[in-house]
Symmetry: C2
Subunit: 368 residues, 2 copies
């Protein structure tokens, strides 16, 4: 086995993983129907319910990454010809449109400029006009660093009889997520952001309303792998074989959840907020300015406009030097923002003053 370089992962994910989680990953395997493993799975489901702020029975780690979580939420709730209103505030809202279109749904897009939240009046107007089967949007847009207020849109959607799908990939375990209080019917996340577990699993949660909708479908869910009524057989009391659960990844996630719950969600959320403030303060003297207006900035992912000096030398070569000389990974812009911004993640284990100082010192040296 070759030796990999040590990295401080300050991009849009993955984040660095606690050594306890790495140790959990390397436990000898047990079977996916072993009572000892099923007990761990029960614990994982309970932990995820706490993070998602929900009592949804069907809250579980999907055996694929966060992008498959998006697909699972939309595939289970939508049938061909169904109407869906999608809020597009960046690459991941755009991806929702692509995913829903492939399912044969009729997509109404509500767009906004990258770096700004969805227009609430635009969303409400579209929901009331279309009265769609599903309203879908992103809580924490990883491509732009924008935090989307959820409650007004979700309330309007429920009033219109729509089901609400929320992308919590980047928000879970770093921002308050309250599925039950907000009235969200299906949500998905990833493990490699504020949970600080390796990528590879997608925590998802489905409400009773969502499951009723799935039971009333006229056609089967297009994806056998992501069909939540089949998954319910394994995650329910019956423990019916569906597919082989990714044992080691689940053991890692279980330990990551223990780390999160030992710290406590309020403390963890406060730590993310404090680290983001420190980052903005420390990088301002170097000419990096926030893309997003105050009040809508994500704490775990800060998007920064680049100073002239960085644009002049090329932002991609500078990111490469940060990686090669300092072992620090930061993210470039995606989509329309490519080449214009950086995305600096302070997620989970990395939401600390020491990460900010390491990055600041490396940048100061490179820009001197």
């Amino acid at each position: 086995m070759g030796t990999l370089p040590q990295r401080l992962l300050l991009g849009p994910g993955p984040s660095n993983v606690n050594p306890r989680v790495l140790a959990a990953l390397s436990q000898p395997l047990v079977g996916h129907l072993d009572p000892a493993f099923l007990a761990v799975m029960d614990e994982v489901q309970a932990g995820l319910r706490e993070l998602f702020g929900t009592r949804n029975a069907l809250t579980l780690p999907l055996s694929a990454t966060g992008s498959a979580g998006m697909e699972a939420c939309l595939a289970n709730l939508l049938e061909r010809g169904d109407e869906v209103v999608v809020g597009v505030a960046g690459v991941f809202g755009e991806r929702m449109c692509d995913v829903a279109t492939r399912m044969g749904a009729r997509v109404t897009r509500v767009e906004t400029e990258p770096g700004t939240p969805l227009p609430e009046d635009g969303m409400l107007e579209a929901i009331e006009r279309v009265r769609p089967r599903v309203v879908a949007f992103v809580h924490a847009e990883t491509s732009t660093g924008v935090l989307q207020p959820v409650e007004a849109i979700a309330a309007c959607a429920r009033k219109a009889g729509s089901l609400v799908v929320l992308d919590c990939v980047t928000s879970l375990a770093g921002l308050p997520v309250e599925l039950d209080r907000w009235g969200i019917d299906a949500a998905y996340s990833g493990t490699q952001k504020c949970l600080s577990a390796p990528p590879g699993l997608s925590p998802v949660s489905f409400s009773e309303r969502a499951l009723t909708r799935v039971r009333e479908r006229a056609t089967p869910v297009q994806s056998w792998y992501l069909d939540i009524s089949l998954l319910a057989g394994y995650f329910g009391q019956e423990r019916v074989y569906h597919h082989t659960a990714p044992i080691s990844a689940i053991l890692g996630l279980a330990e990551a959840l223990r780390v999160v719950l030992e710290e406590g969600l309020p403390a963890r959320i406060a730590r993310h907020a404090a680290a983001a403030r420190q980052l903005r303060e420390e990088l301002a003297p170097l000419g990096f300015t926030p893309l997003v207006a105050d009040g809508y900035r994500l704490p775990m992912l800060t998007t920064l406009r680049l100073p002239e000096a960085v644009l002049a030398m090329g932002e991609a070569p500078l990111r490469r030097r940060l990686l090669d000389r300092h072992g620090i990974e930061v993210g470039g812009g995606l989509g329309k923002l490519a080449g214009q911004i950086w995305r600096v993640g302070l997620m989970g284990e990395n939401a600390r003053r020491s990460s900010v100082e390491t990055l600041r010192d490396a940048l100061a040296r490179e820009l001197a």
Copy 2:
């Protein structure tokens, strides 16, 4: 972190994992676009090509389990209304029909009794009659323990202008797999069987003919997550972001492939064959007899009819005692064979005389 019990995994997968692989899983994370990680991914792709017996450029580990590999192969090659001929020799052939039906394909089934291979004449007749877009069947049927001869069916399918999809979940790294020589267009496997890596990834391979078909589709692939033309962007020279690769799992797979290639495929295949012979010999005196006829038995997964003594005491309680008292997992029957047979896996790390002896001694004690 609680302590999990030590298990000898002699079921249909997962198998036990080499300590080198467990160590590789617990390396600190690097990013999924880090040059150091991309080098590991290149090595993984090259190793998988060797195991699959192919030069297919698009040979890669999908970020989901083997069942998603099945879905990926069918979803990329089939459009609504396409004809597909599926060989059904057990639960996994049956699953192919379900998956293809959900995609809107028209399925022609060729069935056989559980425990027997597909009727070659029946397959050839159906292929020539239907001239389908795709012919799909299972190389090593994990539910029945049957080895399916591939070459005649694949040759007939290609003559009819069909694309051939082969399930290699259980055969890869334990039996010869020769995609290029056999003329297979899409194949998928899992990591938790003869590769002896944890479950969670699905090695897949697509031929140039398959990629041409994907380019000529009239409609997009239903699944964004499994769309092979999008995946080609990350796995090709461009390294375009699609989804976040499951870093730790890939590091584990890389080490598992090194273990396999250091042993050498011919030696590994011979080891699986020898272990299966020993198993049949050692369990015969206890009254366990092979379900499958000589010549069609899988070496890595032996299906055994149960002696009267076991049926009398209940096979499920006996499996539970093997687990609780001896730490040994064996598999029960699936589908029509539930309650009638056991499935004993001697896969990868476990294809050894010592596994057979441990199982024999435990059974002898329980049945004494």
